[in-house]
Symmetry: C2
Subunit: 133 residues, 2 copies
Amino acid sequence: MIRFSKKVEYALMALKFISASSPRLVTAREIADKVNIPYDLLSKILQRLKSEKILTSTQGTHGGYILANSPDKIFLQDIMKAIDGDRALTECLVAGKEGECNLEESCSIKSPVSKLQKEVEDLFRTKTISDFV
Amino acid sequence: MIRFSKKVEYALMALKFISASSPRLVTAREIADKVNIPYDLLSKILQRLKSEKILTSTQGTHGGYILANSPDKIFLQDIMKAIDGDRALTECLVAGKEGECNLEESCSIKSPVSKLQKEVEDLFRTKTISDFV
DNA sequence: TCTAAATAGGACTTGTTTAGTCCGCTTTCC
DNA sequence: GGAAAGCGGACTAAACAAGTCCTATTTAGA
């Protein structure tokens, strides 16, 4: 059908791990080891989650990550957006890229695909990481 | 979020065009011109749709394509599968590839993702190309 | 105040996938 | 026999995803 990026998979596993360890701070190294994800890659992922306010971090020795919100307020959609950026079923449905399709005028499927897009979004918007336990 | 491949987009546009032209036979050349899709690429797509029994074709002069079924019996899921093959949100959810994930044992998100996969499938399984008018 | 442990983040490499092209074959009608 | 159509393998190029490398910064504690 349609695939998660590896990074999103890793993000979900990491978030679940952090959630399960709450309220303790968890380090990237610990997650990488326990969940078996390349450390450098995971670091990037956690940093993105932090910059999108899904995680908060503490630097320095004894630093680490912790959820920025309760698990039932962290939505799948936000996680995906944080990691992969804005996406949609088609390029022309991505906010800000509407005009870039050279089929624009003749496009015969825009409106039904747009409707489908909304339905997919509804699915992802309602899932939180507390569903991932 | 998550994206259609260009080929699936083209398939949808082509199928809609063929559906609208029914019961006339339509050539790949005509679709390519009207819908503005590279001819060679479109040919491949139509051939796959044919081999998956979504279209029937007639060879030779005055040949062309026509839907193999009524539009409301041609499901989005089948179109996507015909073009892109078996896919799922994660590799390990694709039938026949279950064992290939090295996180298998430790994977903490398999069951919730599997549930989500079913929900996404439900969405795609119920859509037909008659919804694309 | 030095060091170790942690996050932060840019730059790069590698591998895979997608999109698209090229070319020759077969089928069928006139 | 030739033109118009589908059939289909092999290839190329560009884009993207995944992963690596390296260096800086922050902080706690000896």
